[in-house]
């Protein structure tokens, strides 16, 4: 776009002059016709028309050209002696003076008008950009959103390549961008400015590769957290660079005002702190999980070895102790696993590995994993033989079911019945687990899916982190499903259901060769 404009600028005067000359020629012909048909003798005043048009359209040069052409034409064609450039009539001199005066005045006026028009048009674009900018800032989610908003805004308004470096730390290292497009001399200067080793104030220009001129300056000298920008001015000469620097100043003043109004500086430092906290938390949880689980693996393994050891095998009391060690360690292991799952869900989400799975396999696998926990409940299975295949991550669905079984066991009395039913209906597969336990109050029904929420009625008598159903819900949601919990009321049992999509049309058919 800028290149095309410049090209037009070069050509414009010549085109204007040519058109002016053409207009004068047309006017000469028209005056001829008027003189012949109407009998007027003083038609030369009509040459003011090309002068006016030229001064409005193409500026003072074309206007003066029109004036001179008009005078020459009227001297040649219409004043005695005709067909000669000789001027005898003083009227001719007055005409020339009048044309020139008009040309100057009108072209000045028109020029000023045009500049004002251009200015207000640009202002309007700037305002629109600024508005878009603040809207984008308002929805910016993190630091890099804010930075790319600043960058895009400047690039849109200045119409040049703009690269924003977020801060001292990132100036030297690779940024969100591929810095390959920013010359090293510029990157070094950015590093100096961002690091405070060089006071750039209103900006420093530096020559990049291939004769490009780059401007490097802080976005806002008073607020370093907005970063440092490098703008490629291209191959501009002194005057143009000054003009563009002035423009950059204006745009940055507006942008900074917007940034300050929205409290972006605060948001940026907060986001930075949050990112650091997240990193710290993940590292901590990663190491905690390793540090806790490795000894747990030893404890559990050792306990199982002990329980078979001849010295303990026949002593019931010692056996019971060893079993306690095992059970408690297992519970601890489950809690750690839950914490890890919760971190995985809230930090980067869970990515399901979907495959075609048989719901019966998932159910059997979940029952296997909970078999010890379910051993003193009466398990009732209600599974049709022809359940449709589902396209899910079977391991995640199994883990969700395990969480539901855990909950059912936790909140129901020993010896009570737990029913697992599966059915396919309306393109959905529904797995429901019904217990005869504590049930839910209305309030509990509403908050059962929240994190760290545990039934207040039971907090004294049962253990747990309040993560189980929240994890189950997240695992099911990532497979495109939903969960529900209903209860007839406190003490009347709970039904927790998993609903997963079954798209009949999408269930692949066996190719004929597969079917023998």
């Amino acid at each position: 776009m800028p290149n095309a404009l410049r090209l037009l600028n070069v050509r414009e005067p010549w085109r204007g002059l040519a058109l002016t000359f053409f207009m004068v020629a047309v006017m000469t012909a028209a005056i001829h016709v008027i003189i012949l048909s109407v009998g007027l003798t003083r038609g030369s005043v009509l040459y003011l028309i090309p002068v006016l048009i030229a001064s409005i359209r193409w500026g003072i040069v074309a206007a003066l050209f029109a004036a001179v052409c008009g005078v020459i034409a009227s001297a040649f064609f219409f004043f005695a002696p005709r067909y000669s450039f000789e001027i005898r009539d003083p009227q001719e001199v007055i005409n020339l003076a009048l044309y020139i005066f008009t040309a100057i005045v009108v072209s000045q006026l028109a020029g000023r008008l045009k500049r004002q028009l251009e200015l207000s048009r640009r202002r309007e674009i700037d305002l629109a950009e600024l508005y878009a900018f603040s809207r984008r800032l308002a929805v910016a989610f993190d630091l890099s959103d804010i930075h790319s908003a600043i960058e895009d805004h400047l690039a849109a308004v200045i119409q040049r390549k703009v690269v924003l470096f977020a801060g001292a730390r990132e100036a030297n290292a690779s940024d969100r961008h591929n810095n390959g497009s920013v010359p090293e001399s510029v990157q070094k200067l950015v590093g100096d400015v961002a690091g405070g080793r060089r006071d750039a104030g209103a900006g420093v220009t530096v020559a990049g590769e291939a004769g490009d001129v780059w401007l490097v300056r802080p976005v806002a000298p008073k607020s370093p957290e907005f970063g440092v920008i490098a703008i490629n001015f291209g191959r501009e000469s002194g005057g143009n660079v000054d003009e563009m620097r002035a423009r950059v100043d204006t745009v940055l003043v507006d942008a900074t005002a917007t940034l300050e109004r929205l409290g972006v500086a605060h948001a940026i430092s907060e986001a930075r702190m949050r990112a650091q906290t997240d990193q710290l938390r993940e590292a901590l949880i990663g190491s905690v999980s390793h540090e806790l689980r490795t000894p747990l693996a030893s404890i559990l393994g050792a306990a199982t070895v002990l329980s078979t050891a001849p010295a303990l095998r026949d002593d019931k009391r010692l056996q019971a102790l060893v079993h306690d060690v095992r059970d408690e360690a297992e519970r601890l292991n489950n809690d750690i696993q839950n914490l890890l799952d919760a971190t995985r869900i809230s930090s980067d989400g869970v990515k399901p590995h979907a495959e075609w799975a048989d719901p019966a396999d998932i159910i059997n696998s979940a029952l296997d994993r909970c078999r010890r926990r379910l051993s003193d409940r009466r398990m009732v299975l209600n599974l049709p033989a022809d359940l449709p295949l589902i396209h899910v991550d079977p391991v995640l669905v199994q883990q969700a079911l395990v969480q539901i079984f855990d909950n059912a066991v936790k909140y129901s009395p020993s010896g009570s019945r737990i029913t697992l039913a599966a059915r396919a209906r309306d393109g959905r597969l529904i797995l429901s687990v019904t217990d005869e336990g504590a049930g839910l109050t209305r309030a509990e029904e509403a908050q059962i899916w929240s994190r760290f929420v545990r039934g207040e009625r039971h907090s004294a008598t049962t253990s747990g982190s309040g993560l189980g159903l929240w994890i189950a819900n997240a695992f099911i949601a990532t497979n495109g499903g939903k969960m529900h919990a209903v209860s007839d009321g406190p003490g009347l049992g709970t039904t927790v259901a998993i609903e997963l999509p079954v798209t009949q049309a999408a269930v692949p058919q066996l190719e004929s060769d597969a079917d023998e």
Binding site: R293, P295, A297, T304, V305, W356, R371, P394, V395
Partner: protein, 251 residues
């Protein structure tokens, strides 16, 4: 005691894990060698006769997968890896590299012993060329291509038999979906797990006493299938607590 003097190489960098494994194996009549690093494990496996390798995945000097790959490049010794939960893709990868089986940490000794016995039995069967595989009431005669349930011959389609045959060749060990699909349907169908699901359903109708809760052809969620062997009654094959009380698992 099936293999009274089998030699186990335990590869783990945690001394506590090595200690309980050593005790557990020795109590069950095994001879135990230990290695704390991958390099040590590979050296040990080259220098001494080893019947089975138990390898942890998180070793300080090299990835457990590399240990499996390097041992497998010259030896057919059974390898069981100790894996962590939530990494089915990793389990599949290890099995494809040549591991015979995996046990999920934390695990119970009974479960590991059951897996070890199955792997050793498979090894000795392969060495002796024994063509008969028995799984509970099911008998598969690989040489006669015959399948019997409680003594009466079953009528299987060629693909059903092929599926059962591949599983029987690895009886007791898990076989990945990809391996089964490739062996039965050819390599273009390795992604078509629905073929497997549908055929396994049909096969279970014929070979399982209770097809709804299979005990012979067991699913390893996200990994593959396993033909359960005695000592692994199918139940609790993945859970460390296993339900199988140690005495029962020993049987």
């Amino acid at each position: 005691m099936n293999e009274p003097s089998a030699i186990v190489l335990v590869v783990d960098d945690e001394v506590q894990i090595r200690r309980f494994l050593r005790t557990g194996f020795e109590l069950n009549g095994f001879v135990v060698h230990e290695a704390a690093t991958g390099a040590e494990a590979i050296r040990s496996a080259t220098l001494r006769p080893i019947d089975i390798v138990i390898a942890d995945l998180g070793l300080p000097d090299m990835d457990g997968a590399e240990v499996v790959e390097r041992i497998r490049s010259w030896s057919s010794v059974p390898i069981i890896v100790l894996s962590v939960r939530s990494s089915e893709a990793q389990k599949v990868h290890l099995l494809e590299l040549g591991a015979d089986d995996y046990v999920v940490k934390p695990f119970g000794m009974a479960e590991l012993l059951a897996r070890v016995r199955v792997a050793l039995r498979r090894q000795s069967r392969a060495a002796s060329g024994e063509p008969i595989v028995k799984v509970g009431p099911l008998t598969i005669d690989l040489s006669a291509r015959a399948v019997m349930l409680n003594g009466s011959r079953l009528n299987l389609t060629p693909k059903e038999y092929r599926l059962l045959q591949v599983l029987a060749q690895h009886a007791g060990n898990v076989v990945t979906h990809q391996h089964l699909l490739k062996e039965v349907w050819g390599s273009v169908h390795v992604q078509d797990t629905h073929y497997l699901r549908i055929f396994v359903r049909k096969l279970r109708q014929k070979i399982e006493p209770h097809p709804d809760s299979p005990r012979i052809l067991v699913t390893e969620l996200g990994v593959g299938y396993r033909l359960a062997q005695s000592g692994q009654d199918g139940e609790g094959a993945t859970a460390w607590t296993g339900g199988a009380s140690p005495a029962k698992a020993d049987g």
